[in-house]
């Protein structure tokens, strides 16, 4: 049975879609069978970031409504053969996502893949709650900035109340992915510190992704950054995040600093 991950944040534009593509590709580059699912119905973008926008035939809503079978809607990546995309619908709205339909699709994907990565839409409405509903693991994407941290806090609350895990009295595994981290601004003291964010949200740190031109380049080219440029700083941060996701105890280094977070963070009350 595969593991279901939701990549979520509350706030838009923090890097959920970028991270879903990069983490999904990085896992697949390690030989794992991965599907990334776009839950942003009406505003799909994962297809663009992954460079599959011209090949979308059917989508998640078609599958839920019985207009297409799941295998017909899955798009296999042209570069990594164990990486698949299930696109969102561009023309219909979120009301077409039914809880029963989503449950069926996720159950089927779990059987066929090692990892099912759900790219959540922004907000706390239907799309976001359905994306997190069946998750085993949540990756909370946060920028070191006040409104993003506040929204992440809100999302953590939902993860602990509105998910199947929560309703069954189980613990949802939550990880913080700090993205768009700018060492220059951190140096000047214009950005929330890593420690501050961790203290406020108190969930373990999965990684720190630096703000980088390489991310922009990759999305221009339609390639997850880990595929576009394996050696770039954001790619290395994503590859390391994947190793931690798989259970490896790897210290987190702060971009632009020699300091690394370890023990301290994983020893912190694991929420």
């Amino acid at each position: 049975m595969g593991k279901v991950i939701v990549v979520t944040s509350g706030k838009g534009g923090v890097g959920k879609t970028t991270s879903s593509a990069a983490l999904g590709a990085a896992l697949a580059q390690n030989g794992e069978k991965v599907v990334v699912v776009d839950f942003d119905v009406g505003l799909r973008n994962l297809d663009l970031v992954m460079g599959a926008e011209r090949r979308v035939v059917y989508d998640l809503v078609n599958v839920i409504q019985g207009e297409a079978k799941l295998p017909q809607a899955l798009i296999r990546d042209k570069r990594v053969e164990t990486l698949y995309l299930l696109p969102a619908s561009q023309t219909r709205d979120k009301d077409n996502l039914t809880p029963e339909g989503v449950e069926k699709v996720i159950a089927a994907l779990k059987k066929a893949f090692d990892w099912v990565i759900c790219d959540s839409p922004a907000g706390i409405e239907r799309g976001a709650t359905l994306a997190m509903r069946h998750a085993d693991i949540a990756i909370v994407v946060t920028n070191p900035e006040v409104s993003s941290v506040r929204d992440s806090d809100r999302i953590i609350g939902l993860l602990d109340s509105k998910t199947l895990k929560a309703e069954n009295g189980e613990r949802m595994e939550k990880h913080l992915l700090l993205t768009r981290y700018d060492p220059a601004r951190a140096e000047r003291g214009d950005m929330l510190k890593v420690d501050d964010v961790l203290e406020i949200l108190s969930i373990p740190l999965l990684g720190i992704i630096p703000e980088s031109m390489d991310v922009l380049r990759a999305s221009n080219l339609g390639s997850p950054v880990t595929l576009a440029d394996e050696g770039s700083a954001p790619s290395r941060a994503y590859f390391d995040a994947v190793r931690r996701l798989k259970g490896e105890a790897l210290p987190v280094t702060v971009p632009g600093e020699r300091r690394s977070f370890f023990g301290k963070l994983f020893g912190r009350k694991a929420a």
Binding site: L48, G51, R54, R55, D214, S219, N220, L221, A233
Partner: protein, 93 residues
Amino acid sequence: MNLFRFFSKTQSAPAARERLQVLLAHERASAGGSDLVAKLKDEILRVISRHMQIDQDKVSVKMERGEQVSTLAVDVEIPFNAAKAAAGRKKAA
């Protein structure tokens, strides 16, 4: 990004522009309900299902929306029995 990498990379903005132009041309067309490739897909499947019961699992539809040309590949497995039944129906009619 170090200098070497900076200079060794070609610009990605032109690729972005081109990808967007192709994508948006198709999306704008389909907003008016005239995405030809999508329409063809629907009609082809409808025609096939008029003559035989399509086993959804045996149909694969692949599209590649290009700038000058788009390709549509509809792959339908037609079981021998279904072909025979369709032929029989035609004779009876």
